[in-house]
Structures are given as structure tokens and as C-alpha cells.
Amino acid sequence: MPDSPLDVIACRQEQSRQLQSLFGSPIQMTAPCVFVYGHSATGKTLVLRSLLQKLTHIFVNCVECYSARLLFQRVLNELSGHVPSAANDFTSYSRCDNTNDFVRILKHLMQQKRLAGTLYLVLQKAERLRDMEANLLPALLRLQHLTGENVCVILESEIVWNKFWCGTGFQDPIIIHFPEYSKDELLEIMLSSSALDGEYSSELKESYCNLVISVFHTACRNLRELQHMAQLNFPKYVEPIVTGEVQEDDVRKLWRNVEPHLKRALQTVYLHEISSSQWERMQAEKSEEKAPPSALSSRVSMELPYYSKFLLIAAYLASYNPSKSDRRFFSKNAGRINKRTVMNVDKKSERTSSQMLGPKSFGLDRLMAIFYSIVEEKVAPSAYIFSQMTSLVNLGLMTRISVSDSLESPKFKCLVSLDMIRAVAKNVSFDVVRYLYDFVG
């Protein structure tokens, strides 16, 4: 098979060969179902696409086709070459509401078209199939049996096959695993596909990629992320070369130059918060002012009206402090409780710290009581205050947990993290930590 794509796809020869041999020549029967799994960005789709290029195949994404009906219609449309358009009023090939119809029409279509070879049906993100009708997955697994035609269903997923077991009628597929790339493989792929711009020698690129991989590897093995990072930081790497300070082969100097940038990037892996242009801008600013925390603080700073901030703080306190402790924190003449230290020794060791377990719910009354005691001036309980509550709920900072029909005593929960509440409290110069049970005690 000289023209096979086997060797085109770097580092995936083994898997390609397996699949290729399973597919065989078009007229031969194929295993009814193949399950392909592996981490994201391990070349699953790439391999399948290139192998199936010349074969009759249909790719369907199960996220997109969120119901069985859409899935069926999609398959049938593709198979029949039917395109919904304005001309036919965006209808699909034929009505297909259930698995029974699907199998029948599929069979009919295949006989009608006299397909020479196997029809490959690739279902991406197959884990979604589990959420659809219970019979769908088993039926797809047995599609060959049910239609009596040469159909091969290929499921593609990031989840292991065991997790698909549910219900009845399963037929085990042949399972092909795509392992994560090793470091060397990553390097090879990044070099071959690298989108690093500029005219630089391959040695330079290689040493750069090596660098990126070694820095990021502990946190991230995802090829796509690594490529993203490599691309982001490359301009920085070659900057000294462009300005003529450093020769291309002086790897050590280049490394020293780019190291801080990579380190910083490492702290924001996965976040994808900025586009490349902004990243450059930010890097430039940073190197000037040397103020790395600025990026972080801006992530948690939030703009809210003055009382909303206090409401939020009150909600946070109500969520994380046991209501028993309210008296201690908020009553004006609270004597420091002597037993405190005793109490805390065993408290600490338990896993019941609310910082660990998350927020508890509180009633509106309690919230308002805390609110009034932390706001210094007098605030009338006006409609504004209450409308701020709903706004906070809308913004996802608080959530309402009680049943919606109990009007009189709604219960809430605060959904804000400690970092954020700290930032908010700092903004209104309120020492929130002093009021937190877990920290005071």
C-alpha cells in the first residue's frame, strides 16, 4: 500500500496500521464496531480522516447532533447527498424519528446506491451518545447486524469503554487506544507542523521546541496547548536575534532571555485568556514595570455598587461562618470567648472546615442582619437593596437554593471564592478575614 497515509502522520503509524488492517479492502466485511479512544489532541480524528479519505464515510459529531433524530437525519442526508437549502425549505432527506425508521431507511439507501464497500460511520464525542435514548448506543453497536449491510460504526471518544456500559444489548467493539505522545514524539510533531514564523534555522527551532516542551511538560502534555504556547512565546525567543544582540547559535543566552517569559506563561497555561497580540503587549509591559501580580489582581477585581459589595461580603460571611458564631462577630458587646482556643484545636483537625466543604445556605434574615452590622452607616431597607440581591443572583455570585415557591424565607448560598471576596473587601476597606470563623479561630 504505497500511497497509504500511514507514514504521513507522524508518530501514529502503529495505530494507523491497526485501523487500516481492520478496514481491509472495501468489499470485505469489517468489524461491526470500532472504538477509538485517547486523550484529546492525540491524532484520533486526523488518522481516521486520512484513512477514510477514499472510503465511503460519514463523520458525525454527537455534541452537535444533540438528539437521536438530528443524528439520524444528519447521517441520511450525507449518505443521500441531500443538502437542505432554501430551495427545499431546509427539510432533510426524509423524516426519521426513531431508530426503526433509521435502520430501514439506511438499509434502503444503501441498497439503492449499491455501495461497493463498507460504509463507515464515525461518531465523534461518542460519550454524548450515552445521554441520548437508552437504546441508541446498543443499536448503533449492532448496526451491522440490524441492517444486514456492510456498515462499520466507529466511535471516537476520550473516555474509556467501560464507562459506556449501561442498559442492555451491548456488543463489545474492537478497541483501539491512542496513547499520549511522548516527549520525543511531541518534539517531532511540533517541528514538522510548527507554525513558527520567520526564517530561522531548524536547529534554532528545534532547541526552542525542546525548551518549551521541557518547561511545560509537567503541567501539560496536550499537543495543542503546547503549540499554542510555543507560538505565543516564539517572538520573544528570537527577539535578541532580531535586534542583533545574540547570535543564532548561542542557545544559552537565548534561554536566559526567554526563561522568565516562559515561567510566567507556565502559570497561565490552559487559561487562554489572552490572544497572542495581547500577550505580547502584556509581556512588553511587564518587562518594563516588573509588576507581575497586576495581571492576577485584574482577574478578580470586580465592579459593583457600594452596597452590593457589602451584601456580597455579608453573603460570604453567612455562607462560611456557622450561625452560632454570629453573636461573637457581630454583637456590639461581644466578650472574647475564652473557650475559643480549646474549641479550635479539635475543630482544626476535622475536615469540617467550611473553606473545605464549601458554602452553606443561609436565610434572607440572617443575611440582612449581617449586612446591617457590617455597614457602618444606616441604610434603609429599600427596594434597591433587595433588587441588588436579585442582581447578585443573576450575576451568578449568589444562588437561590430553596424551592422557588416558598416566598417567605428564601435561602441563598454565596458562590464567590475567597480570593475574590478578599479583593472586594479590600476595595471597601473591610477586613473580611477578621470576621471569618476559620481564620479567626
Binding site: Y66, S85, H272, I274, R299, D365, A380, A383, Y384, N394
Partner: protein, 602 residues
Amino acid sequence: LGVNLPDHEGLFCDLENLLRDEVSPHVAVLRSKDCANTRNAVSSCVTQLMDTQMMSPKRKAEENMPSSPRKSPRKSHKKTPMKSPRKACSSAPIKSLNSPVKNQTCCKPLVIVFEDLESFPAHVLQDFVAICSNHLDDLPIVLIFGIATVVTAVHRLLPHEFSSLLCMEKFQAPPATQCLNELIDQVLLTPSVAFRLSGRVFRLFTQLFLYHDFSTVSFIRAFKFAMLEHFSQSPASILCQSHDVNSKLESFSSSELDEIRSLPSFRRYVEGKPPMEQIKLLEDDDHAKAIISKMLSDLTDYHTSYFPILRCLHALTTKLPSQPMGKHLREIYAMNLSADMGSIDDYTEAISFSKALCRDELAGVIHKCCDYLDNNDIPESLHPFKDELNSYLELLNMIQGKPKNPQDGHGHPQKGTLKSLAFSHQLIFIQTLQENRKKKMTAYESLRNDVVQFLDTNFRYSILPLHLPLLEIQYYNKAGFLRHHLNASPRACIQSALTDPYQYTQNSALKCADGVISPALPDLCIVYLLHSECGRLINLYDWLQVCCSHCFLLSFSYFHIFLVFRKHSRFIRAVSELQFLGFVKPTKRKTDHVARLTWGGC
């Protein structure tokens, strides 16, 4: 009603139109309330896009419900904290959106705007992003997320597998306070708008804004409301408009004039006059009209010079350490409106601070002031002020070179000696230092004192809005009334209605002394008053007894079984009304008891 929500809508409307005009005709705006599940989100998005596509059918559109194909190479992400003001903010995103657009010239990107990201159900968003990323190859798609809180909201809603599909870019709209400043700047701090808010009202408005909702929309609404009140309540307010004042004044009847005469500031003015003049003013309509019209034009003149000077003051005080008069122009303005400038501690403090400014800063301040004065077409009256300032600036620049020499001459040997001198000699050193100071004073510091003195007198002279007569015509002053209308407090209303029904019904029979429960009150009020004396749990039977003894005293003389039933039913009805109003609720803890829902004492 709610934090920042009203402003958002307008903002996104603007954004959408702008996008349509400048970036791409394919814009879909999704709101969380339309998108309870993926199906709704996709279909609403497709329908919106299809509408525009019908007009330009260059691409095969997809079928309505199912596979919705769209994708974008890069998604951008817009951060809109709270509200943002008009054009200023929307143009920022546009610019950066443009760059991806240019990359794919083939077809215009589909722009999908998520108006209120936080309220979208997470799974819908996840699916939507995943679907979008599927079609990235065929279609350029840009997603715009409107986030009111913080960027981390994106991460909260989109776990790793989905967020990794995004390439985000942040755009931050200016904070709400900035919009407010701009608004105040343009509307209130200009002489051209004659309607003004008094100190208390102004303070009320800004407080509503800052403390409660951050909504410029509602700020404007409140402003309009105040305006409406002002013009409808006082006839004199017609003089507020600056043009045509005289002819309007002519048409005033004497009763209307009397109203003006009864304005406190006019009275104050009159009292300051000799008795002859007083009588003339009060009796002779024509004379009064002439005076009034002069007063009005004075008022206008005053305002034209007032605002530039206020800005100068602002320029000066923001430079000072700890900013005794606040950071923003509006703070100074509010301060000004509520009290006499000379009597404000902060002001005196500010002036004394400014006497310690270093040269560069002072020059900067003066420069800035001059800029203000140059930019605006200032009234005649301010020309001397400006000229004076300019000359000070020149003087300052002149000294710039000069004082250095004496300073250097003295300073260097001093420093040299400092190092070599023994500890015991320090006293002498300090003395020389002080002398040195006095000398310097002669050069720069005296000039500085002059400048500050000059500014101070000018400020004191021209920033005195409280003393002009006829102020009421332009200033709206009923803060209490506004508070009542704008800052609704439903609970307080109900409670006052229940405790003191006279206030609402104006029925004098219901008037009652404090603490006495009169039987004439409606049943509901009696029941409420009694309940507010009880603890957390109320025994219904006791309640009924007390109730009977209090209110139905009269009927007891009959002692008829029928009446007993009637009392019972009246009581029960009042209690259920109370429950309906949310003051009590049935409890399961004890039979025949109800629980109170309000805190004691209120």
C-alpha cells in the same frame, strides 16, 4: 430594576448595531432567557443569522434546527464590567475585532453575542462552544461574551475541554463611575443647562448611583424626574430658561411675583436692603421685575465663571497628598453646593497643603488651570484671573533657573561638611539649615505663597453659589421628596400604614396617640400592633383574647353569641391578611401558634 442590568441592554444594542455596520452583517445576539437548553440556543442563533443570510444568500445555509454550522478561527472575548457608557466603549472592541476579520477576507465572520454570560446554563454554553469549534474550519465565527463580573466567570462556566477551544481577548469597558463623571461633567457642570440640583439632591443621586445600582440609565431617569417635579411644582421655574426671561417676566401676574418674593433667598436679599428699597421691592411689581431680571442675569453670569474656576480648584486639589477634597470633580461640586467654601475644613486644609507644593507640581497645576481657561470660551470676568495666572506661570518659569544657584551654593558645602562633621556639630548644622530655608523662602516660596493666596481669594470669591438670590429658580432642592419617590422602601410603607393609618387615610377618627391602641382602628391594624408586641411564636388564642379586650370592648356589652362568632371571623380574617402581607406564617412547631417573620421592634 437591578444592578447594572438596564444599562447592559442599551450597551449591547449599540454594540450590535455597530457590529452590523462595521464588521459583518451576520450578528446574532443571545440572551440567557431565550436559551434554556442547547436546542433553543442553537435555533435562536440560527434564526437570527438566517434572517440576515436571506438577504445575502451567498452561502448555503443550514437547516434551521439541526446541525448548525458556524465556526470561528478565533473567538474574542469581551469583558464588560457592569455598565459602560456610550460610544466610548463600544469602539474599543470593534477595533480588535477587525483584525481577525481581515485575516479571512473570503467571507465575513458570524458574530454571536452573548449578552449576559453569567446567567447562561453552563452546559448550554459548553455545547455551544463545542459546536462552534467544530465548524471553525468552514466558517469564521467570533463569539462575544458580555461579562458583568470577572473573567473567571468564563472559567467557571467552561471547563477545560471547552475553554481550550477558545482564543480569548479581553476588552474592558470603562468603569461605571467614569460614565457617571462624564455625564455629570456634560450635563451638570456646564453653564448652558440652567436646571441644577442642590447639594442634597445631588448627593442623593450620586449615592443612589454609587451605593445601589451603578446605572446611568436610572441616574438619568432620576434626573428627569427631578426636572419634572421642579417645573411642575414651582411657577418661578419658568425663569429657569435663560433666553426670553424678560418677556416671561413681563407676563408674570402679581401673585406669581409674590411667590418669587416668598423665596427664602429673595427674602434674605430684601432684608439686607434699606427699608425704602424693601418696600419698593415688595410692593412695586415693575421694580421687582427689573431687579429680578438683573438677578437672573447675574446668576447666569456667575455660573459661567463658576465652573471654570471649580475646575481649577479641582486641578489644584487632586495634586495634593491624600486629596482632602476627593478625587473627583463631582465630589468637590457636591461639597461646594452644600456649604460655604470658606467654612469647609477640607478646603482650608487643602489650601494649607497646597502651600507646601513643590515647584514642578505647582507649575503643573497652574498650567492645567490655564488650559481649562483657554479651552472654554470663558466670560469676560475671568480674563483678569487668567492673565494673572499666566503671569504667575511665567514668573515660576523664571525662578526655575534662579533659585537653583543659591540652593546649590549653600547645599553643597553643607553636604560636604555633614559628612566630615562630628556628631556634636549637628546642632549647628540644623541651625544653618533653617537659615538656609528662610533664604529659599525669599525666592520660590514667597512666590508660591502668592500664588496660593491669589487662588484662594479667587476661589472664595467666585465659588459662593449659596448666597445668590433667586437660587431656587435654578436649583432643585427637595431631596426628601425625591428620596421618598426614588428610593422605595416597601416594608416601611406597609408598616407605617399599619401602625398609623391616619397618614394614608387622612381620616381624623384614626388619629391616635402613641402606644395606645384605639378600637377605632381597622382590625388589621389592631392585630398588627398587638402582634408586634409578641415574641417569635404567637399563640392564636391569646392573641384573640387580647384583641377582643382591646378593640371589641364596645360590643361586649351585648354579649351575644352571634357577636362572638363575628369577632372570631373578623380576627381570623385580619390574621390571614397579615399572613398574606408576610408578617406571620403558620408554624408546625406548636399547634395553634403562628410564627413572626419580622424582627422585633420594627
